[in-house]
């Protein structure tokens, strides 16, 4: 049956090729975007773990993902700590690693934290090797996994952050998210780096974010609401809020992916329908003959469904393989800057092929029914 259907497809090589190619284009796009979305979802997932295990307090008018306007006064730390249920509030100061950092996904950051109180915060991520930052550390850094790879540095090595030498004391486990690109330093060191970069800006007693670690057993959402109520002039991002912002972020990409899938569905599907209708009308007499010599309706139906499913399958397979090739090449191109833009997961590989095959099958339903319902004598009469 398979061989027979393949031979039938081969009768109109150019037409079959063009139809398959239409699917290839759609599935190629779907695969590349799928890999992109898989990478984003991976980052988002990791980010969720980081952002939802604490309450972030930022200047009012900014969001979780930068866009910070102004800074928080350090006095806010005490105000927050006075709120019942807060275990500690840690002032943080972040600045981009490069002078200008325009990259894909989360930027590489230098994150300064008040070391006297940051123990809980800094141990949210598991350490791979070395040690955590301790009170009194100066010009010392713990690197996220991606950054450690980029600098090819481990504990004991010296790295240059914004022109200053820092000793690496530890490296975190990969989280596949934003903190992988962070260099954690002390609050003072981060502030000093900022002063260097902005010599005319009076920098004193400010923080970019204040991370709040709750006391055990305290409901984070309620605590976030309490902080927002009692501390004026700040924006409180609760874990739920963080999750919402993060999922909104990934929702947009998933929507784009769905859009591409829909276009592939319409364009590819219609071209398969068209091809199959032509095949059926070309082979009307053959269908009549088959029915005359005893083919059942279901057998004719199955034959044409198989043919259109195979068009979908081949298009999907080739499109997916081309997509993987493109993804591999792009990832290699960006490998030097240590930014993996795409992730290939099982879904990325299997999904598009399954999708294309189902699409082909669905597109074949109408033409196949048309073929199966032909009356033998009428079909035989046709020339």
């Amino acid at each position: 049956m398979f061989r027979y259907v393949l031979r039938n497809m081969w009768r109109r090589k150019a037409r079959t090729f063009l139809t398959v190619f239409g699917i290839v284009v759609g599935i190629f796009a779907l695969t590349v975007l799928g890999a992109l979305s898989a990478r984003l979802n991976q980052q988002v997932k990791g980010a969720e773990a980081w952002f939802t295990s604490k309450i972030s307090v930022v200047p009012s008018g900014s969001s979780l993902f930068g866009g910070s306007e102004g800074y928080l006064e350090l006095s806010k730390v005490d105000e927050i700590e006075a709120v019942p249920g807060v275990k500690s509030a840690v002032a943080g100061f972040g600045l981009t690693l490069g002078e200008e950092s325009i990259g894909f996904g989360a930027p590489e950051l230098i994150v300064g934290a008040e070391l006297e109180k940051a123990g809980d915060l800094l141990s949210l991520i598991e350490l791979n090797r070395g040690r955590l930052l301790q009170m009194g550390d100066e010009r010392k850094a713990v690197l996220g996994s991606t950054l450690a790879e980029k600098f090819e540095a481990g504990p004991g090595d010296t790295v240059e952050l914004r022109g200053k030498d820092f000793e690496v004391v530890g490296v975190y486990e990969p989280t596949l998210s934003a903190p992988d690109g962070f260099a954690f330093v002390s609050y003072e060191d981060a502030l000093n780096l900022f002063r260097e970069a902005n010599p005319y800006f009076e920098v004193r007693d400010i923080a970019a974010t204040i991370d709040v670690i709750p006391q055990p057993g305290v409901d984070m959402e309620e605590l976030a609401a309490r902080i927002a109520e009692s501390v004026p002039g700040v924006k409180v991002i609760s874990p739920a809020e963080a999750e919402k912002q993060i999922s909104q972020f990934s929702l947009i990409f998933n929507a784009i992916l769905l859009g591409i899938g829909f276009i592939a569905l319409v364009v590819g599907g219609l071209s398969i329908v068209n091809t199959m209708i032509m095949s059926v009308s070309e082979r009307t007499q053959e269908i009549g003959l088959k029915k005359a010599i005893g083919a059942e309706t279901g057998s004719v139906l199955g034959e044409y469904l198989l043919e259109s499913a195979m068009i979908g399958f081949f298009g999907g397979l080739v499109g997916m393989l081309l997509g993987l090739l493109a993804v591999a090449l792009l990832n290699r191109a960006t490998a030097s800057s240590n930014v993996a833009v795409f992730t290939v997961t099982a879904t990325v590989v299997v999904g598009p092929v399954v999708f294309a095959t189902l699409l082909g099958t669905a597109a074949g339903i109408f033409p196949a029914l048309r073929a199966a319902r032909l009356k033998p004598i009428e079909a035989l009469k046709e020339d």
């Binding site: 081969w10 009768r11 005359a292």
Partner: protein, 240 residues
């Protein structure tokens, strides 16, 4: 054994009624070798379609081997056709993507015969039509005469009780016409299968044992054929 009585087939085209077959009784015994002749429009092809269960009569009944077909569902009719009837058409109707053997195997596929047996029976059928050496050729590589012989092998491979041929020599030259008729006559003699051949070629009819002549959807005459001796003149050549 086929018994048709009071057979009527009326087509409606707009407000017009076309009586393709108009009250026809026919009795065909097992092992007969008959031709159905008549001018075009006399209803011979329609009759063949009715006898072959490809079309349902407007009224009247057909029974094959004692089974009344009127009560059967489309699915049962398909099965009966598959098991009891073989078809040979004017235009051969071989599938171009299959080779000769695979074309002959096709009806056995629909009978769900296992692959090995299918192959064996197809080769035997090709042997009966003297085309063993062409088994691997596709229809495009065969002459008209050879294609029609493949089609006959396909009709015979299921060992049907009735072989219906619709103008089987219509697209063949004199030599191949002769060969095809000779083949069918030999097969009829050797296997005892019933052959009913629709033709407008008087030469073909003359070779058969019984000639049923139709006019306006009725039987005009039903007589014994001369069963002329066949001498195929090879000089006419097999045009490829």
């Amino acid at each position: 054994m086929i018994v048709a009585s009071g057979l009527r087939k009326i087509y409606r085209v707009g407000s017009m009624e076309i009586k393709a077959v108009d009250g026809l009784d026919i009795f065909i015994e097992a092992g007969e070798f008959l031709s159905i002749v008549g001018p075009s429009g006399s209803g011979k092809t329609t009759l063949l379609h009715l006898l072959g269960l490809l079309d349902a009569p407007t009224s009247g009944s057909i029974s094959i081997d004692g089974m009344d077909t009127a009560a059967l569902s489309p699915k049962q009719l398909t099965r009966l056709r598959r098991e009891k009837i073989g078809f040979v058409f004017q235009e051969f109707n071989l599938l171009p993507v299959l080779n000769a053997r695979e074309n002959v195997e096709l009806p056995l596929r629909y009978l769900k015969v296992p692959a090995e047996e299918r192959r064996r029976r197809a080769l035997r059928a090709l042997e009966m039509v003297s085309l063993t050496d062409r088994a691997d050729n596709r229809p495009g590589q065969l002459s008209g005469g050879e294609q029609q012989r493949v089609a006959i092998a396909r009709a015979l491979v299921t060992e049907p009780v009735l072989v219906l041929a619709d103008e089987p020599t219509g697209e063949l030259d004199t030599y191949n016409t002769c060969k095809v008729i000779e083949l069918m006559r030999d097969l009829n003699r050797d296997t005892g299968q019933t052959f009913a051949i629709v033709t407008h070629d008087p030469m073909v009819a003359d070779y058969t044992r019984r000639i049923v002549s139709l006019r306006d959807g009725r039987i005009a005459s039903d007589s014994a054929g001369p069963e002329a001796a066949l001498e195929c003149d090879a000089g006419a050549g097999d045009i490829r």
